[in-house]
Symmetry: none
């Protein structure tokens, strides 16, 4: 009957059911014997990062944030900005990021001011990194390791 168990219940209800409004959710919560108001649910949903999206057939549905969406919710430049993949091709390094983060990640690379990196071009979720001439792939990867925490890089 406390906040914590209510949050857990909400998470479960949203995960397992198609819920289209906070009033629907309220009814389901009350159906389990727990009791609160719509206002509390509004606050709980924010706390849980649960958002209202579309159910694919004209209606609405509350959704748990996936990792990807959660990342997108954070402001660019946050520590959570991560690299989701890297591929070398034609002497260039293609870096993948969560959607919308390419620019934020590229800025961090640019700001590091490493000689080995001639420059970057960022799209929405892809960065093209251009190394200087005669710099090895390994040297570039070492630069990146120095710029980002190891855990924020997921090599492909």
């Amino acid at each position: 009957m406390n906040r914590i168990s209510r949050l857990a219940l909400i998470e479960k209800l949203v995960r397992e059911n198609v819920i289209g409004s906070q009033d629907d959710l309220l009814r389901m919560v009350e159906g389990t014997g727990m009791k609160c108001t719509q206002a509390t649910l509004s606050r709980d949903l924010r706390q849980l990062g649960i958002t209202r999206g579309f159910d694919g057939s004209g209606g609405y549905r509350y959704l748990l944030s996936s990792g990807r969406e959660a990342a997108a919710e954070m402001l660019p430049g946050s520590a959570a900005a991560s690299i989701t993949g890297m591929t070398w091709a034609r002497g260039l390094l293609l870096i993948n990021t969560p959607p919308g983060f390419a620019s934020a990640v590229a800025i961090r690379i640019d700001r590091a001011g490493r000689y080995e990196i001639a420059g970057t071009v960022a799209g929405d979720d892809t960065i093209l990194l251009i190394p200087r001439d005669n710099i090895s792939n390994e040297a570039v990867e070492e630069c990146l390791s120095g710029i980002f925490e190891p855990e924020t890089i997921t090599k492909m």
Copy 2:
């Protein structure tokens, strides 16, 4: 001033700005000289799959549902999104599209998941396509032929 360009504008505004309400968005749309009402934006946002989430610091923010993919799936014009030109340079392929469509076209390329293509970076009307090493120009062009209807490609 038509629906399609408004949708493209909204997609772009949401991608590039932190927008917390439909009224905010309405002001930005009007700021570009385009004109509509909040009710229309509500319908457009559904069409584009754009949802309101959290900005990580107490506020709200509209978000593309799955980053770049949202544009590809939802922009009505994307099915017909065309390639207006292609140029090879330095082993890279520069692809031209109508203004504002680079992202939508690039998504389709990305999603095709062809091995031959290491990645793309999209600007507004230009895409830089990076082929993997040891892949011929012809092989890349064949990939594109498979992804797009022949008539949507205009070689330069």
